[in-house]
Symmetry: C2
Amino acid sequence: MRHVLYGRCVRCGRTYEAVPDLVNCACGGILDIVYDYDYIKTVLTKETLRGRRRTMWRYRELLPVEESTAPTPLRVGWSPLYEEPRLAERLGLKGLWVKDDGQNPTGALKDRASAMAVAKAREAGAEVIACSSTGNAASSLAGNAAAAGLKTYIFVPSRAPKGKVAQLMTFGATVISVQGSYEETFELSKAAIERWGWYNRNAAINPYLSEGKKTVALEILEQLDWQVPDYIAISVGDGCTIAGLWKGLKDLYAIGFIDRLPRLISAQAAGCCPINRAIEEGADWRPMEENTFADSIAVGVPRNPDKALQAIRESQGLVVNVSDQEIMDAQQLLGRTCGVFGEPAGVTGTAGVKKLCEQGLLGKEDTVVSVVTGNGLKDVANAIKACGEPIAIPGTMDALLAAFAARQVVVS
Amino acid sequence: MRHVLYGRCVRCGRTYEAVPDLVNCACGGILDIVYDYDYIKTVLTKETLRGRRRTMWRYRELLPVEESTAPTPLRVGWSPLYEEPRLAERLGLKGLWVKDDGQNPTGALKDRASAMAVAKAREAGAEVIACSSTGNAASSLAGNAAAAGLKTYIFVPSRAPKGKVAQLMTFGATVISVQGSYEETFELSKAAIERWGWYNRNAAINPYLSEGKKTVALEILEQLDWQVPDYIAISVGDGCTIAGLWKGLKDLYAIGFIDRLPRLISAQAAGCCPINRAIEEGADWRPMEENTFADSIAVGVPRNPDKALQAIRESQGLVVNVSDQEIMDAQQLLGRTCGVFGEPAGVTGTAGVKKLCEQGLLGKEDTVVSVVTGNGLKDVANAIKACGEPIAIPGTMDALLAAFAARQVVVS
């Protein structure tokens, strides 16, 4: 990898050769992949990009893969970026774009990290990848690995929703349901990974995964024709995704594709916001309970706080915590106004934008991109709670007219 | 529409001016949109297409919209076409491609028809679109209309699954749940559409909708660089989709983009196959019971049999009926081998291909494209039935080793 220098610990600064199975620093800190931007500038131009296939692999000069590594099979990335003038007007913003990353192959932004895991596993010569997760990390890994002909072992706690387990098993993963807590599940997966030498897909250990996630930032800017928005909003759980977003933005700035950096908006659930609380308090993060229905960001002990806090601080970002009701309202708002159906954690960024507008912290001078990180079809049960009941009537015109009148439906 | 001549009844041949709110012929037959291919040849070339945005609207010279009509907002079309050499080898085919149309915005091929309905409703000056459906037609209409700022009224029978109703309501549709049969629901919607003059999104009445669906064929051929496969397989319910597929292929042949036509494979559920039975018997179709769990194609009284039967016969197509178990097997096969998760009706085409291979009707001389018409996340309950149970154990290595041994899992 002529364009990659090394991995550097975000805590102690120690550097490591960028081998495919790189893990955390001896000190426990997570590594950051460091690039040779001077070299990259000589091989990557905006014009080079134009004719390339529309997947995350179009940015390969900025990705930590060997020049000879083939793109992974599923079409990950290049999700739509919708300009939303009606929603912008309603919220009182100068401009608003929605990046619908629920349109990835398995329905989540996590596909970007899992595709990277598959590419690096191939470079490592591994035929098996493993992780412990109940959510989008697991399903995206199972799908992307299946398409590449790799086996997966996935450890889930027994409380994992059946629907998510079904997705994993359809993709042919060997799913181990552990009768115990998530912590016990994680420990067993760790022991098994060590015992059998499986490739490790864990975004808080494998430093390449957030490099996959950063492609969402590269796309947003390319789709905006390199015009920089004032803010980019995203929901935050473990912290890996916002860290990846920021890394992508800094990459583009470093190679001169953009001339300024947007500010990040970190949106968390009010019932589980350890990262935002640390920013607000200007202090270290402390664990919190996980009191939110937005399961993908219900992370009381974030596993990538270092990079996330650094990203928010460096960008002079805003933090905003939203209630479950505000998340449900945002889900309805995005559905009704934009035709975008996101899962609860997926729309939390938009809920945060709405709240910041109501608080007067965002307004008619500001342009904002809001990233939707997961598809609403992932969690239909919670959508049902948010959307209310249909008009139930017998099949007659009289009944229909009476129901419209009773509900003050004005038919146009 | 300089490129559109008129609508022509498929039964009696009567022609109608192609106004935006065109419906069935006075004789009851559905209309087919007829184009001026000589003119289209002068304005559309393969080279023209290259630089265009990757949505269904890239083919606008072959679509029945005014030159001034704007593309609809959601990114419909240009779903991935995956080459699947491992699955081809396993089935004994020369070549196999999977077109994953579950990657459309609301998760189904039906988005193509609904986007067309939205475009034509705008041309008609309508602000409201209506339909009766419990399935993908309804959710795709609700989503595409919401993004375009149009209102929708959607009539569903009260037995409609809650998850699908949730999707509709999230998109802001006014949902009327009718306490009665689907027939009663349809009749009430018809009366309401007539009373209030709403735009009618019903693929068996509105002749433009299958013109939207045909874009799946245009894409497949462009993605294959205009190399014609021997067969294209798709599941069949009402008949509108396979009719649209055939129309797209004939369009490409008429303008000289391809030099031969593929044969169609019409796959239906064995418990509900009135169209395939008519082909097999060389007779008219007769109603059947709806004995299949693949709800999107459980259509005992198809509403577009004329065009569907004509398409299969003209293409010298194959018909194949598959059991629910064969559909579930195909869902697992696609998931495990390709990383593609389709709903039961969505994978029925692939189930048909597999069965035809086993019967020796397809083999190592043949190249096949199989269209997956809907996303598996639409129907998680049935995926659970198909995929079996995970390995459930306490969180210890001893338990894991014992479970692997008992299940003869060979860890590599």
